[in-house]
């Protein structure tokens, strides 16, 4: 627990000095705030931009940041140093994972209030976000662990991130894409958000697809970890 807290603090400090990562956490909440307050289109659903940017935030930030942090540590050999300082792999992963999760959820606070959610609805909104962030984080960690360096991680994570971030938006305009998106967690995060916003009940299918996606992401992470390890 002590080592996990130290890793968390280290990550907080390091990310604060890493503009490329820092921007990932604030980009979509800031864009949502700007768009929500500056664009009004007739017949546009309430808080349309909040829903759209929340899903993009979920699909992009945890995935790219997890992959980037882990692959950078492998490339720069800082992970090796941590392991020799008796930090256990699980302590490291919990420290980094805890940081990425909480930083992404901080964006969720902004989205939640921009979307006008309160009470139980706000809690549900954060719960949906947490599920999506968990799936993206596990995928990002799998890519980070699998990759030898940051360049290799970026090469993999960029197309993956594009798919999960933008598929729900593209699915609104194209039926074929919508069919493909039906298997993807970010699409069902979007659908759950829509239901929450409209006050309609969520479908069990949404929860099942998200749960299956999280399980697959966790399995991919375990495979990557067993094959490549942390050093």
């Amino acid at each position: 627990m002590k080592n996990t807290a130290i890793i968390y603090k280290k990550q907080l400090k390091d990310t604060g000095k890493n503009m490329a990562l820092w921007i990932q956490f604030v980009m979509f909440p800031v864009m949502a705030a700007i768009m929500e307050n500056s664009i009004r289109v007739e017949n546009m659903p309430d808080h349309f931009f909040v829903g759209m940017f929340t899903v993009m935030h979920i699909g992009m930030a945890p995935l790219t940041v997890s992959a980037s942090i882990i692959s950078e540590e492998k490339e720069k050999n800082t992970l090796r140093m941590l392991l020799f300082a008796n930090v256990r792999p699980m302590e490291y992963l919990c420290g980094v994972g805890g940081f990425v999760f909480s930083a992404c959820m901080a964006g969720g606070v902004v989205f939640g209030f921009l979307g006008g959610y309160t009470g139980e609805k706000l809690f549900s909104f954060w719960l949906i976000m947490a599920a999506g962030i968990l799936a993206s984080m596990l995928l990002g960690a799998a890519v980070g662990v699998w990759s030898k360096n940051q360049i290799a991680a970026t090469a993999v994570v960029t197309p993956v991130m594009m798919v999960f971030s933008f598929l729900p938006m593209l699915a609104m305009f194209n039926g074929t894409i919508a069919k493909a998106a039906d298997f993807v967690y970010s699409q069902h995060i979007q659908l759950l958000m829509n239901s929450l916003s409209a006050g309609t009940p969520a479908e069990a299918k949404n929860v099942i697809v998200i749960a299956v996606n999280i399980t697959i992401a966790a399995a991919l992470f375990v495979i990557a970890y067993r094959r490549r390890g942390l050093t």
């Binding site: 080592n3 280290k10 000095k17 720069k76 090796r80 941590l82």
Partner: protein
């Protein structure tokens, strides 16, 4: 006087794929001594140090730390070990101080100790400087500071002064000797014979994965002193070589009495020459 074995290396052989990189390496390091593993690039020094520190499992053979199998005590042993190796990185965006503070947290070292070690390596004034802005010499000193932060009993230093300027090298040498005086057992690899002669009680010469010679540096040099002559340079520029025997005493005495001797040396070789004689290669050669 009996010498306590701190690190025991027994019959280590290691392969990378089909290639044999270490072949039956055996020697031991006494408690409190500095042992130098000397060899050119590619000789297998880093592989051996990685095996000894438990980062790599040897194909055959074993390493013991105070008689305990390293493979079994690795995790606990890391608290007693300090390492300065190229493949242990820094958080480049964080300051020198923050990098050490991170390690101090893991090792439960009081924060004042960070100041102590930064002062020892001459980096206290630069403590707030991000690591990415440090020169190579400063990074080496910071790596040494990190290696000694928790007061380890065993120190493993992989080419601690490679590529450094003479002033930084001297500072690092002084610190290594101070650590030894404080009781640390130090295992260092180098291809610098002057460094080995200056610091090490024993050296092991490694060539193509095999120990070709082992012993105290001066003892090795004496053992290979085949010429056994005295080289004398006289004022006026002339030089002469005399057999290092009683028969030359009178002649040498004569030069001394006349005050004609500018320099006088024995012809014993240095480790570089011994290595060359044994392997046909220079210690400075890249493989």
């Amino acid at each position: 006087m009996t010498c306590e074995t701190a690190i025991g290396i027994k019959e280590i052989t290691h392969y990378f794929g089909e290639k044999k990189v270490l072949a039956g390496i055996s020697f031991s390091v006494e408690k409190g001594e500095i042992l130098g593993l000397l060899g050119p690039s590619g000789a297998g020094k880093t592989t051996l140090i990685r095996i000894v520190t438990g980062q790599l499992t040897p194909s055959t053979g074993s390493v013991s730390l105070e008689g305990n199998d390293m493979a079994l005590v690795k995790q606990e042993a890391y608290r007693r070990i300090g390492m300065m190796m190229d493949d242990l990185g820094f958080y480049e965006r964080l300051s020198c101080y923050d990098n050490l503070k991170l390690c101090a947290g893991f090792y439960e070292v009081r924060e004042e100790r960070i100041r102590e070690v930064l002062e020892q390596v001459g980096l206290y004034q630069d403590r707030k400087c991000p690591v990415q802005k440090l020169s190579k010499g400063m990074k080496s000193r910071l790596a040494l500071a990190r290696a000694v932060l928790h007061g380890p009993e065993f120190l493993f230093l992989d080419e601690p002064t490679a590529g450094l300027d003479p002033a930084t090298t001297r500072q690092i040498h002084e610190l290594i000797l101070q650590l030894q005086r404080d009781g640390a057992t130090i295992f260092l690899t180098t291809h610098n014979m002057t460094e080995a002669e200056k610091l090490c009680k024993h050296v092991a010469l490694l060539h193509e994965g095999q120990i070709v010679e082992y012993g105290a540096p001066q003892e090795i040099n004496r053992r290979y002193n085949h010429r056994n002559k005295l080289k004398i340079r006289l004022y006026g520029g002339s030089s002469l070589e005399l057999p290092n025997t009683a028969a030359s005493a009178e002649e040498v005495c004569g030069y001394l009495q006349k005050g004609q001797i500018e320099t006088i040396h024995s012809t014993e070789p240095d480790l570089e020459s011994v290595f060359l004689e044994l392997t046909g290669c220079s210690l400075q050669e890249e493989d």
